[in-house]
Amino acid sequence: MADAALSTSAPRRSLLAGNALPVAIFLIFALVPLFATFRAEAYVLSLVTRVMIFAIAALALDLLIGYGALVSFGHAAFMGLGAYAVGILSSHGIQDALISLPVALGVSALFALLTGIVCLRTKGVYFIMITLAFGQMAYFTASSLAPYGGDDGLTIRVRSTLAGFPIFSGDRSLYYICLICLLGAYLLCRALVGSRFGRVYRGARENPLRVSTIGFEVYRYQLVAYVIAGALGGLSGFLLGNATDFVSPAYMSWQRSGELLIMVIFGGIGTLNGAIVGAAAFLLVEEWLSGITEHWKVIFGPLLVLVAVFAPGGLLGLAARLRRMIRG
């Protein structure tokens, strides 16, 4: 009797435990604007908007690293493409998201498809190097776009509209748009990982030889995942362009790709929740430290080393270990 009761309650408890963190995360994001009304509203909203935008890109990257063992070092390129889509179209007077959003997603997905066809033929360190190379190619291409500001970048004078409505213009409405996009991206990734497709894709990380001898062409599954991750990066860039009213080649620099990697590893790879936590932790710590001293990187660098050494599972891994220690 006792055994039966135990075995039925166990899955239910783990279901709650599995969802408590994401529920808490999204609840906090939803409530931030309410508290922000008390003080420094514009500042808080823009900071957390930025967190959510980077969290979308980090989610996409976690889909590649955490579930596919595909360590992409060029993920900022997709963000840059999304942002440039907004900027370039806007400079030609096309502001509506009904056009610019599909273009942003389409261009970044296409870039992912074309580069993925090449990158995914390589493994391990070579994959890291070649994604970095393609990222830098995008960076230098953007730098040479003289009509669109070249190195200096491009100011986006008018934010996107949706079917003519200026819903991207208000800080608060932009905040909620980003929240909805992040929620959508998160749910999409969760569904993908657990789906038939995700099972094959995750299996290929574990043992590609086994998965191909079962009868799956691993490459095709990885390519589809790469394109989805690219398109999500494009979405993040589309929002970033609108949030900053600006786009420049720096959006696609390898340093930015590195920051995205740090966010995912900082939070804990292969969990999706970790990508959001990592993006928030990275940007908030960066913001906090840079307020203390202009040499904030001197503090931030060692902090990252500490996390890498003492919390191999990232912040989520650390939290899980602490929970276990407290429970004994």
């Binding site: 569904a191 993908l192 657990g194 789906s195 038939r196 497709f197 995700g198 099972r199 094959v200 995750r202 299996g203 574990e206 043992n207 030889l209 086994r210 998965v211 191909s212 001898t213 079962i214 009868g215 799956f216 062409e217 691993v218 599954y221 589809v224």
Partner: protein, 250 residues
């Protein structure tokens, strides 16, 4: 006369100057268990790798189910019903035992380009996976992460994965390698119950298992087929006895 399920014709493969497969011709008839034996380095695994598509032969042809599959990729051959196990255990360690097998079921039941709906909740996949696990005696272990199984259980899991593919031919590369006596017995029993249902190519070092199970045996030495025939014929072949069996059958 029935047509062979698998026919290998004049297969050759060189690694540099080393001839690892030397003009090998053999076939597997429906329902037959065809064992390939030979000393270490005889090229048994290389032969299996060429049949399953992991290695391309330098010359010769592989005909499976009446179709020339010599140029087909490994996943295409698997889709046509060629299932294999590995000498060095090849499973998905962080997947549960059930999910390891369910993935193999998924490969033959509908498209896997489905992005929504939890695969773990598809009972048709799980039921077929459980059936395969029961056949190899792993029915009780389905929730365990595959990496935590004992060595013998991992061998059994590999067999279950192959069975779940509903193969037209099973390629078993040393399924008993490294297992204890009890586990070997269990695997022999499992293989015997499968005999007749699937044609099999069995590469194995355990001579008792081979002579207990095989309908036909081919002896491979330095990449060449030295002899081929029923267990009784092979055992009586003086060439085989001097070259290989002599010390094994004491």
């Amino acid at each position: 006369m029935a047509e062979a399920v698998l026919r290998i014709e004049n297969l050759s493969k060189n690694f540099g100057g080393l001839r690892v497969t030397d003009d090998v011709t053999l076939d597997v008839m429906p329902g037959e268990l065809h064992a390939v034996i030979g000393p270490n380095g005889a090229g048994k695994t290389t032969l299996i790798n060429q049949i399953s598509g992991l290695l391309a032969p330098d010359a010769g042809r592989i005909v499976f189910g009446g179709e020339d599959v010599t140029g087909l990729a490994v996943d295409r051959r698997a889709q046509r019903g060629l299932a294999r196990s590995f000498q060095i255990t090849s499973i998905l360690p962080r997947f549960s035992v059930l999910e390891n097998v369910a993935l193999a079921v998924q490969a033959r039941s509908g498209s896997s380009f489905r992005f929504f709906g939890a695969a773990a909740a598809e009972e048709s996949l799980n039921e077929a996976a459980r059936a395969a696990l029961t056949q190899v005696g792993l029915g009780e272990r389905e929730t365990v992460p595959a990496g935590e199984l004992s060595h013998g259980e991992k061998r059994a899991l590999e067999l279950a994965i192959a069975l779940a593919m509903e193969p037209k031919l099973l390629l078993l590369d040393e399924p008993m390698a490294g297992t204890g006596r009890d586990e070997t017995e269990r695997l022999v029993t499992a293989l015997r119950s499968l005999k007749g249902r699937f044609p099999m190519v069995l590469v194995e070092h355990d001579m008792h298992a081979v002579f207990a199970l095989a309908d036909r045996i081919s002896v491979l030495i330095y990449g060449k087929i030295l002899a081929s025939g029923t267990p009784a014929q092979v055992r009586a072949d003086p060439q085989v006895v001097t070259a290989y069996l002599g010390d094994e059958m004491e």
